[in-house]
Amino acid sequence: MEKLTKDGLEKLRQQHAAADKNYIKVGFSSCGIAAGAQEVYDVLCEEVRKHNADVEIKKCGCVGMCSAEPLVEVRVKNMPRVFYGKVDKETAIKIVEKHVGAKMLLNDRIYDMKVS
């Protein structure tokens, strides 16, 4: 990476500014990792590869709902952005299959808390 100038910083900011893309974020702070985020992340990656799903899988920090970890945020175009809590392997598979694939939200898995 080159030494940043002020212009360079601005350019970089615009380059990486959020594009309108589908994503799945997995909370990868201590709380998430302790609750099993790594397995969830691996399953999600595997499923997305298998289904060739149109979604990017990312890691992020803790959003604050520590009691609901592993926490997975899913954002698919034209659907509400939601958090799935206490995600296990099965839920992870369903997230890719149903939510990302069939555009169907999962029952009994969503934590619709006041994060912001």
Binding site: L9, H16, K25, G27, S30, C60, G61, M113, K114, S116
Partner: protein
């Protein structure tokens, strides 16, 4: 975007009707042939608690509470077909979080500097460097930001003192030695948004005239250390650390130092001793670190949360920040809400938010079947606030008036099963363990108090013991060298103040009203209610329960350790606790 409906029965106790309402709603939709146009979802948590059946309609975000079956048709017709609110059950959203410190936590990849930059990262630094340090100091003073580590000293003033102290070499230290039981917001920020802390620190360095910064992070936070290390590496690669940052004449670099597990090293002078490689003993002030700190040079120590606020303040302006919060406490505060609460986690709210909004509105209240009794804020240096005072608005002064403190933002929720002398004993025990042992009032006073509290909780206490507790507390508050000892008696004094009757019950009647203190509680199986299911037998970890499904069961009091497992396991409530 099509319509989405979230459903959740938030009634406390009783039958969960979420599925019933889901069925009714689905039926109504089918009748109208809309079942494929609307996504109907049962959710685990809907962000509202104890408000009956709750329905949320998206994307408009209409929120309906106490929804009766009869309301469903109205909701479908008004909101799902008409796109309008169903006025009869519409409520405004309750307390919400406002995220400044946690703005990027859970949003960006903490290991990517690009994602941080995409969220306006390092813009504040660029802006600050194109102006004088005095301008930054002014902006910070305008913001009214106060230190988030506990004492709440105005950050702008702290910076100014350090800047004005004579000396060519100065230091800024990020205090990441978070140690209050139950508080972990600093860890979360370091792990989730390391660059915001680094940016705050570089800006601080510029403002006070420091060329060197230290991260003091407790070794128990390996992931935070790893992420800060990575972020620092990225900063050096990008020229955000090192010589002539952004082409200015300002040069700055940062080193990491690990805390070795002593709570007292969060105290500024002990922290400095620890970085210098000495025993982590606090030293008397004056001289203050801003005059004579690390290696004898002027040093500014800021907490993680404080530093994470800095970039936003300088980007949006001190006046913007000062517009949030109360008269004396500006901005937001992150609380780690833990203990006997439904949603334990981190919550960031504007200063001045009522405790009840945090505990019930966001935290979701007590765990199933229990009721909240009090909270403890400020960790072991703080005090309890009974539920009767939950309308108190959290800021530095009002918490102090309640006999507690803001501290680093721990908020531990206690329910009816928590015994106050026992809670006081727990917190005091923490301070006794963590006392550095340097000054006599803390070292010996704490130990003597713990001994007295142990007597009380074991039913051996006397009224004179309570007097001695108060006497030692007073001496410790006034004569201890550092904050640890000065505040260690607070949990005892505040529980004595609010729950004197509980202490008296232990001392005079040898009873523990919360049935918590093992020596004062007895578990008995009431044969008339017992259904001989054997659950208690299975639950007992020490085989104190004998018997079988024919003859029934009996608790051997000599073996019983009073853990309460059988009591919790007994469905027909056939075990008495007294």
């Amino acid at each position: 975007m099509g319509k989405t409906v979230f459903i959740k029965d938030t009634t406390i106790g009783g039958k969960d009707r979420t599925r019933d309402v889901y069925g009714i709603l689905l039926g109504v939709l089918r009748e109208r042939g809309l079942e494929n146009n609307v996504q109907l979802v049962r959710v685990v948590d809907i962000g509202v608690y104890g408000q009956g059946v709750v329905v949320r309609v998206l994307p408009e975000n209409f929120l309906y509470t106490h929804v009766e079956d009869a309301d469903i048709v109205g909701i479908v017709e008004q909101s799902l077909i008409g796109g309008k609110p169903f006025a009869a059950k519409l409520v405004a959203e309750g307390a919400r979080q406002l995220r400044i410190v946690l703005r990027n936590c859970g949003v960006i990849d903490p290991e990517s500097i690009e994602e941080y930059i995409a969220k306006d990262g390092y813009q504040a630094l660029a802006k600050v460097l194109s102006d004088t340090p005095e301008k930054t100091l002014q902006e910070m003073k305008t913001s009214g930001l106060r230190g988030r580590g506990g004492a709440g000293f105005p950050t702008g003033m702290k910076w100014e003192f350090t800047r004005k102290s004579p000396g060519a070499q100065k230091y800024i230290i990020c205090n990441g030695d978070e140690g209050d039981p139950g508080a972990y917001m600093d860890r979360s920020v370091l792990e989730g948004d390391p660059h915001s802390v680094i940016e705050g620190m570089i800006i601080g360095g510029y403002a006070i005239g420091a060329s060197k910064g230290y991260f003091y992070i407790r070794a128990e936070y390996p992931l935070a250390i790893e992420r800060i290390e990575k972020a620092l590496h990225q900063c050096r690669e990008a020229g955000l650390l090192g010589k002539n940052i952004f082409g200015s004449s300002f040069s700055f670099d940062v080193e990491i130092r690990l805390g070795a597990g002593a709570f007292v090293c969060g105290e500024e002078t002990a922290l400095i001793a620890s970085i210098e490689g000495k025993r982590g003993y606090p030293s008397p002030r004056p001289p203050f670190p801003s005059v004579k700190g690390l290696w004898g040079k002027p040093t500014c120590i800021n907490n993680v949360e404080t530093l994470a606020n800095i970039p936003v303040i300088l980007l949006k302006g001190g006046a913007w920040f000062a517009g949030i919060g109360t008269a004396s406490s500006k901005g937001t505060k992150v609380f780690a809400v833990t203990g006997k609460v439904k949603n334990s986690g981190l919550v960031e709210v504007p200063m001045g938010t009522a405790i009840e909004d945090i505990v019930y509105g966001i935290g979701g209240g007590a765990l199933a079947g229990k009721s909240v009794k009090a909270i403890q804020t400020g960790g072991p240096s703080g005090g309890v606030i009974p539920k009767e005072h939950f309308s108190t608005k959290v800021d530095y002064e009002s918490l102090q008036q309640m006999g507690s403190i803001m501290g680093s933002g721990g908020m531990i929720v206690m329910d009816e099963d928590d015994c106050m002398p026992d809670i006081a004993k727990f917190y005091l025990g923490f301070c006794v363990d963590e006392s550095c042992g340097k000054c006599a009032p803390c070292r010996i006073g704490g130990t003597q108090m713990l001994r007295l509290l142990t007597k009380v909780t074991e039913g051996e206490g006397t009224p004179k013991d309570l007097e001695q507790l108060e006497q030692i507390s007073h001496a410790m508050q006034k004569a201890s060298l550092c904050g640890l000892g000065q505040t260690a008696p607070n949990p005892v004094l505040s529980t004595l103040h609010y729950y004197r009757a509980e202490y008296d019950a232990h001392v005079k009647n040898k009873k523990c009203p919360a049935c918590k203190c093992a020596k004062l509680v007895r578990f008995l199986i009431m044969s008339e209610k017992c259904v001989k299911c054997g659950m208690c037998f299975k639950a007992c970890p020490v085989n104190a329960i004998s018997g079988n499904r024919e003859s029934g069961y009996l608790i051997d009091q000599t073996k019983c350790i009073r853990c309460g497992q059988c009591f919790e396991a007994c469905k027909p409530r056939a075990i008495s606790r007294s």
